[in-house]
Subunit: 288 residues, 2 copies
């Protein structure tokens, strides 16, 4: 199997690790605008060489694992270059703009729009881990627009990586993912910012912060280069959920100001049911 991975960071690198482990007769070539990443990926054995346009034309599968603004820019060009039988899969955290971008492309049927819900707050090929995708959900959008034999090829690989599949339209994907992923990142970034602003003396943070703080600000380590275009492409859904979040925080603050502690208790008790919801979420150790 001939594979090309465009973007050999955490996501692309982890796919490479799974493919190397799962397939014996495989060649993986890579592309990245970051030269350092390319060298690291080669050293780590995530790929066997640099991909050329010929590799794209001859590839069985091309994984596009770059920031979502770069996907919108490069995906049409990648489709231009691939062969008639090549399957092109993206891993972008937004789906609507990406799907729109290639909707009229002559090779649209070579493309499968995916979002594997997996990752860590780290970036780059050194952050890539084996079995990152095991037990995780892979959202596939507009499956009907992909050639059936290429769908089958993709499902085989996802099965091999241990992913469960869910089909969804791009609009629904972008709405729900704003709720359960994009909002968490903004909440975390702003929490980190607020505490850094207040705590002039970092020693106070070191000494007094427990694992609760660590857990809620962990995502503030995430890559701005990856997340800025996600927020841009999913702006309307994010602004909507962010407003709802701010309103809930305002309401909670008002209850405190009014000394209405019965209501404060109720707010928390009602939200405790998140326990049952979280049981359904596959665990992933976030440590490298």
């Amino acid at each position: 199997m001939k594979v090309v991975i465009v973007g050999v960071g955490l996501i692309g690198g982890s796919i490479a690790r799974d493919l190397k482990a799962g397939y014996s007769n495989i060649s993986i070539k890579g592309v990245d605008i970051n030269k350092e990443y390319l060298e690291q990926a080669l050293e780590l054995g995530l790929m066997d060489g640099l991909a050329t346009d010929t590799d794209l034309a001859e590839a069985d599968i091309v994984f596009v694992c770059i920031p979502v603004n770069a996907i919108v820019q490069d995906l049409p060009k990648i489709l231009d270059k691939v062969g008639e039988e090549t399957l092109v899969i993206d891993a972008g955290s937004t789906k609507l703009e990406i799907c729109k971008t290639v909707d009229q492309h002559p090779k649209r049927r070579n493309f499968l729009a995916c979002h594997p819900i997996a990752g860590t707050e780290y970036s780059g090929p050194e952050a890539a881990i084996l079995e990152l995708y095991k037990g995780k959900t892979n959202i596939i959008c507009e499956v009907e627009k992909t050639a059936f034999r290429l769908q089958e090829k993709a499902l085989d690989i996802f099965k091999n990586m241990g992913m469960r599949i869910r089909y969804m339209n791009p609009e629904s994907h972008d709405k729900h993912i704003a709720y359960v992923s994009h909002l968490s990142h903004i909440s975390s970034f702003m929490l980190g910012k607020t505490v850094i602003q207040k705590e002039k003396n970092e020693r106070d943070i070191f000494d007094m912060a427990g694992s609760g703080f660590e857990s809620t600000v962990r995502l503030a380590k995430s890559s701005p280069a990856m997340w800025t275009p996600i927020f841009q492409q999913n702006k309307s859904n994010i602004v909507e959920i962010l407003e709802a979040y701010i309103q809930n925080l305002e309401d909670f603050k008002d209850l405190l100001v009014q000394d209405n502690y019965e209501a404060v208790f109720e707010e928390m008790a009602n939200t405790n049911k998140i326990k049952e919801i979280l049981i359904g979420i596959p665990q992933q150790s976030k440590e490298k």
Copy 2:
């Protein structure tokens, strides 16, 4: 060593586990208003029996590990009952109101005001774990108001449990802990609330939420009975930091609305330095 633990939940139960492991000649008796907790603590071997007033009078050490409103209510009565040589330690997440409550108590010198920065989002004796406190910071307030020989006794035990000590006045404690703990809990509860409100279909949360969501809403599993009185006692600090947090969220939202993605990027890049800060925080697995 004769020990009485008032409140045999996660915090008191974990102290019991460490004491049982660290001292050979030890008797631990317990009190709890929750009968079920008492039975569980006995079954789990966290304590050897129920504590009576005589046990309080004869105890070498009494640990008070109950919600902070109950500490304010019960601590003076406990001090009334203990012996001249008994050391009384609390583990409350607020310190100012607790210190004020016993400031004029005739046995003030028997009391050491503490906040071990440790815990999980779980509650009750079944959540108690060995070495919960190892490597964690224990904030001691108004140490000068505790008899010197009792300070020494306490430091011995904390050393045995592997805690590092930091001295602070109650005002500073309550201010900083609002920033690095109490805010995280509110952010998490409101995040959970917002997503539950939006996601009528829980399957969407199960399937689409990744570990990032799990991490940011984990604290929303916390006990309302424990946290409501903390928010009440630390209201002014919490309202202040909550307002700063809401303002930062508003500003971030405005940047999105204005399509100012350069500034969005900068906001995140500036907050990425949280990485270095988090390295200093002792890790604690949150799983039972």
